[in-house]
C-alpha cells in the first residue's frame, strides 16, 4: 500500500502546487470569462461602497427628515435636496442607506466566512488526516449541524446573547462550518494518499508541516470556491435575519432591515423595498458569477478541457 521511499523521484515538490505557468493559464481563463468580468465590476463597486461609504453616500444614512418622508426616486424633498433613490418612512435617503448597507453586508459576509472557513478547514483537516474516531466524531457533529434548523439556532443564540454585529457573525459563521469541513476532509482524504505526501512522511517531515506545506495548498482551490459562494450565502443569511428583526440594530443600515421596513409599504411605496432588494440581488449575483468563473479556472478537469479546445482550434 505505502510506497517505498526509494522508488520516488528525488524532487518532492507537490505536483499540484501552482507553477507560474499554470497560474497564468488560470488567470487567462478567469479574465476570458464574461461572467467573471461582470462579477468583478459589481464587486468592485460594492467594495468601494463598503470600504468608504461616507465618501460614496450623498448623506448621513440615519439623518431623518420627517417632512420629506416618502419622497419618490429622482425627485426633490421638501427642502430641495435631490433624493436619487427616494426617501423612506422617516425621510432618510435610501441611496445613502443602500451604500452604507453594503458595508454591513460585506463586513458580516466576509467575517462569517472567515469564521466558518477557519473552523471548517481546521476540523476538516483533522478529520481527514487523523481519520478513525476523530473523523467519525467531527463528521457526525457536522451531520447534526446540517440537520438542525438554522433559524431556530439563530433565534435562540440572538435571543440569549442579543442582536449585534459580532453575534450575527458568530451565528452565521458557526452554523456554516460544516460545508467547509466536508469539502476539506474529502480533499484531504485523497491527498494524504498521494505519493508526495507519503514521501514527505517517509523523509520524517513533521505532520504539521505536511498539512501546512502539502495538504492545505492542495485543498485551497476547492476552499476558495466554497468560500466565494459562502460569502453570498452569508450575506443572504444576514439579510434574512435582519428581515426577521434578529439582525443588526436599527441604527446600522442593512439591506435586510430595509427590506423588512419597506415590506409594509411595498404596494404603495415600492422604492423602499426595491432598492435594497436590488442591491442584495446584484451583489449576490456578482459573487456567484465570480465564483462560477473561479471554479472553472481552478478545476483541473475543466482546465484540461479549456486547454484542449484551444489546442483543437489551433
Amino acid at each position: 500500500m505505502r510506497l517505498d521511499a526509494s522508488a520516488l523521484p528525488v524532487r518532492l515538490a507537490g505536483p499540484s502546487l501552482p507553477t507560474p505557468r499554470r497560474a497564468w493559464r488560470r488567470a487567462r481563463i478567469l479574465v476570458g470569462s464574461g461572467g467573471a468580468r461582470i462579477g468583478a465590476v459589481i464587486l468592485l463597486v460594492v467594495a468601494a461602497c463598503a470600504t468608504a461609504p461616507a465618501w460614496v453616500a450623498p448623506a448621513d444614512p440615519n439623518e431623518q427628515n420627517l417632512l420629506g418622508r416618502f419622497t419618490r426616486p429622482a425627485s426633490r424633498t421638501a427642502d430641495g435636496t435631490l433624493a436619487v433613490l427616494g426617501t423612506d418612512q422617516l425621510g432618510r435617503d435610501i441611496l445613502s442607506r443602500v451604500v452604507h448597507g453594503a458595508k454591513t453586508s460585506v463586513l458580516i459576509g466576509l467575517s462569517a466566512v472567515l469564521v466558518a472557513g477557519a473552523m471548517g478547514t481546521g476540523l476538516g483537516l483533522v478529520a481527514g488526516m487523523r481519520g478513525g474516531l476523530w473523523d467519525h466524531a467531527i463528521m457526525r457533529l457536522a451531520d447534526m449541524q446540517f440537520a438542525f434548523p438554522f433559524i431556530l439556532l439563530a433565534i435562540t443564540v440572538i435571543g440569549v446573547l442579543g442582536a449585534n454585529v459580532r453575534n450575527i457573525i458568530l451565528v452565521v459563521g458557526l452554523s456554516n462550518w460544516c460545508a467547509y469541513a466536508r469539502v476539506v476532509r474529502a480533499e484531504t482524504l485523497a491527498i494524504r494518499e498521494k505519493s508526495f505526501v507519503d514521501a514527505a512522511r517517509a523523509l520524517g517531515v513533521p505532520l504539521a508541516s505536511i498539512v501546512w506545506r502539502h495538504v492545505l495548498p492542495n485543498v485551497s482551490a476547492s476552499l476558495i470556491v466554497v468560500a466565494t459562494f459562502g460569502v453570498a450565502g452569508a450575506i443572504l443569511t444576514e439579510a434574512g435575519l435582519s428581515f426577521l428583526g434578529l439582525g443588526v440594530p436599527l441604527s446600522i443600515p442593512s439591506w435586510g432591515g430595509m427590506l423588512a421596513e419597506g415590506r409594509q409599504f411595498v404596494d404603495t411605496r415600492y422604492w423602499l423595498a426595491l432598492f435594497p432588494g436590488a442591491a442584495l440581488f446584484v451583489t449576490v449575483m456578482g459573487i456567484n458569477l465570480l465564483g462560477d468563473a473561479l471554479r472553472d479556472a481552478l478545476d483541473p478537469y475543466l482546465q484540461t478541457r479549456h486547454t484542449r479546445t484551444s489546442m483543437d482550434r489551433l
Binding site: 440615519n62 439623518e63 431623518q64 420627517l66 417632512l67 418622508r69 416618502f70 418612512q89 422617516l90 425621510g91 435571543g159 428583526g245 440594530p249 436599527l250 441604527s251 409594509q264 409599504f265 411595498v266 404596494d267 404603495t268 411605496r269
Partner: protein
C-alpha cells in the same frame, strides 16, 4: 428505493373529488334558489380569540365577537358619553358601599334561560372568584358580595367606596362584567362555554372553526329589537396588508387598524371607505424610570428636558400621518377629572439644552429606549424619530425593538429600562381612574415611583364624592406635570376600512358593536 415509493403513492381519492364537486354544485344551486338570503357581513380581525368566555380574556380579538354575543347591565350613550341603562333599567347608590340595580323585565338568554337577579349575582361572583382566575378580576376586586333583593333587583356591596362600579358594569374589553347564563354554564362547564357561548346580546353564536371563521346570527328576540344584519362572520388575518387586500377584493366588510399609508388606497378603491374614530383609542406613552435604574433620568429636570426635546406634533403629522393627537398627561379630555389647565411641555430644544446644562449634563448622555415590534401604529418609527430629536439636544438615544413575547415578558418584570413605550386606555373608561393604571407605582405598567401621587390616586379611588374625586384628579395631573414621569402621551386614532355595502359608524375603539349596523 425512494423512487419506487413515490410511484406507489396513491392518486387523489376519486370519490372525495366527486363528492366535493357534487357539494359545490348543490351549494351553487341552492345559492341561486334563495336570492333573498343576505350575504353575511365579514369582519376581519388581526388574530383569533383564545376563548369566547367574556370573563376569561383581556383581548380585543375576543372582545369584538363577545360584544355582539353578550350584554352588560349598563352601557355608554353614543352621543353624551354618559352611562345609561341596558340590562339594568336604573341604578342608584343606596349608601357609600351599596349599589342597587333594577333589572329589565322579560329578557331571555339565547338558549331560553331567563335573565334575572340570579344571573347578575352568578356573573359578578364568578368573575370575582379567585379560583376562576379571570384576568380582569383586580378591576372589580373591591366588590364584596352581591345580594338578590327580588328577581329584578340586586344589591352590589363593596368593601370600600367604589366610584367606578357602574363603569365596570358597562362594556369594555377588560375588567368589566358581562352577564352569563348560570344554568347553561353549569351544564356545559367552563371549557364548553369558552367555545360555545350563550348571552343576551344582539347576535347568537352559530359555529366556530378555529383559524378560519366564527359565525354569529341575529338574535330576533334582542331586547332592543332584532338587528338588521342576519349573519356576522369573524375571520382572523394577521397580516395588515392582507386585511386591507381582503377588504378591497370584497372578501371582507369591516377591517380595523388600517395602516395610515393604506388609507389612500382604500379611499381610491371605490369599493370601500375609511372611517376614523378619534375617541377611546390607545393612549401611548414612553415611561421613564426614576428608581429602577440609576442614571441622569432620575432627575426631574432631565425628564423635562427630554419632553422639551421632542416635537410630538410633527411626529403625529408625519409618522402617524395625522391619525393621532398629543395629550401630554395620559388622559382624554372627555374623561371625568381631566384638568384643562395643564398644558404639557411644548417643543423647545433650547430649553431642553438649558435644563440639561442645569442638571449637570452639558454633553448629554446615553439612553436606551425600548419599543415593541408593531404593537401600536408605526411604533418603531415614532421612537426612531424621537431618538433623532433627542440626539439634537445631545441625548444619544439607542432604540431597541423587542419581539412581542420577549417585550411582554420583560415588561412584566419591569426590565424595560430606563425608557419604554407602552399604552393604556382603549377600554372606554373615560375616568381619571385611568391615571391609576398608567402611573400608580404599583400598577403593572409602572417603572416610576412618586409616593405622594400614589396617595392621591388611592384617595380618589376610595371616594364616591364626584367633587372630591375631581379635585384629587386635578391635583394628580399637576403633580404628574411637575414630575414628568413620561414623554408626552399621545392617542392614536382608530382607522376602520368599511365596505360600501355596510352602513356603520364606529365610535369607540375596542367597542366594535354591530347592533346598529345595516346593509345598504
Amino acid at each position: 428505493m425512494t423512487r419506487s415509493e413515490t410511484t406507489r403513492r396513491l392518486p387523489p381519492s376519486r370519490p372525495g373529488l366527486a363528492g366535493a364537486l357534487a357539494l359545490f354544485a348543490v351549494l351553487t344551486l341552492t345559492g341561486r334558489d334563495a336570492p333573498a338570503q343576505q350575504r353575511p357581513v365579514v369582519v376581519v380581525q388581526s388574530g383569533e380569540a383564545a376563548t369566547l368566555d367574556w370573563h376569561m380574556h383581556c383581548d380585543k380579538n375576543a372582545h369584538e365577537p363577545d360584544r355582539q354575543i353578550f350584554d352588560t347591565l349598563l352601557r355608554r350613550n353614543l352621543k353624551t358619553l354618559q352611562l345609561e341603562g341596558n340590562l339594568a333599567e336604573s341604578w342608584r347608590l343606596v349608601n357609600d358601599t351599596t349599589w342597587q340595580f333594577k333589572l329589565r323585565r322579560g329578557v331571555k338568554f339565547h338558549n331560553g334561560e331567563p335573565f334575572d337577579a340570579s344571573a347578575v349575582k352568578f356573573s359578578i361572583e364568578r368573575m370575582l372568584n379567585p379560583q376562576q382566575a379571570a384576568p380582569g378580576r383586580t378591576s372589580i376586586a373591591t366588590i364584596d358580595r352581591v345580594e338578590i333583593v327580588d328577581p329584578l333587583t340586586v344589591n352590589v356591596i363593596t368593601k370600600t367606596p367604589f366610584p367606578l362600579l357602574p363603569v365596570r358594569m358597562s362594556p369594555g374589553h377588560c375588567g368589566t362584567v358581562g352577564i352569563l347564563p348560570p344554568k347553561y354554564v353549569a351544564q356545559v362547564g367552563d371549557a364548553g362555554f369558552a367555545v360555545k357561548p350563550v348571552g343576551t346580546g344582539p347576535y347568537k353564536f352559530v359555529e366556530w372553526v378555529k383559524d378560519e371563521r366564527l359565525v354569529l346570527e341575529a338574535n330576533k328576540d334582542y331586547h332592543r329589537g332584532a338587528p338588521a344584519i342576519d349573519r356576522l362572520v369573524f375571520r382572523p388575518i394577521p397580516e395588515l396588508t392582507t386585511r386591507v387586500a381582503a377588504l378591497l377584493s370584497g372578501q371582507a366588510d369591516l377591517v380595523s387598524d388600517v395602516p395610515p399609508d393604506q388609507v389612500g388606497k382604500v379611499k381610491a378603491s371605490g369599493v370601500a371607505k375609511i372611517e376614523v374614530s378619534t375617541l377611546g383609542g390607545f393612549i401611548i406613552m414612553m415611561k421613564i424610570t426614576n428608581y429602577l435604574m440609576p442614571g441622569p433620568w432620575q432627575d426631574a429636570r432631565v425628564r423635562k428636558a427630554i419632553n422639551y426635546a421632542i416635537d410630538m406634533d410633527t411626529i403625529i403629522k408625519t409618522v402617524l400621518e395625522g391619525y393621532g393627537q398629543v395629550l401630554g398627561v395620559p388622559l382624554e379630555k372627555e374623561a371625568f377629572g381631566f384638568n384643562p389647565n395643564i398644558k404639557w411641555y411644548g417643543y423647545d430644544p433650547e430649553r431642553a439644552k438649558a435644563l440639561l446644562r442645569e442638571a449637570g449634563h452639558p454633553n448629554g448622555f446615553e439612553m436606551t429606549m425600548h419599543v415593541p415590534n408593531r404593537r401600536y401604529m408605526n411604533d418603531i418609527e415614532v421612537v426612531q424619530a424621537m431618538a433623532q430629536m433627542l440626539g439634537k439636544v445631545g441625548i444619544r438615544a439607542k432604540v431597541e425593538v423587542g419581539e412581542q413575547s420577549v417585550y411582554t415578558q420583560k415588561w412584566r418584570r419591569r426590565e424595560l429600562l430606563p425608557v419604554y413605550m407602552t399604552a393604556w386606555g382603549g377600554a372606554g373608561i373615560f375616568d381619571g381612574d385611568l391615571l391609576v393604571n398608567s402611573l400608580h407605582s404599583k400598577s403593572a405598567l409602572a417603572i416610576h415611583k412618586n409616593e405622594a401621587l400614589d396617595k392621591i390616586l388611592e384617595d380618589a379611588q376610595g371616594s364616591n364624592d364626584p367633587e372630591k374625586r375631581k379635585a384629587l384628579y386635578w391635583k394628580a395631573q399637576e403633580m404628574i406635570y411637575e414630575d414628568a414621569p413620561i414623554i408626552k402621551a399621545y392617542q392614536q386614532a382608530h382607522i376602520f376600512g368599511i365596505s360600501n355595502r355596510l352602513d356603520w359608524t364606529p365610535w369607540i375603539d375596542n367597542m366594535l358593536f354591530l347592533y346598529d349596523a345595516k346593509l345598504k
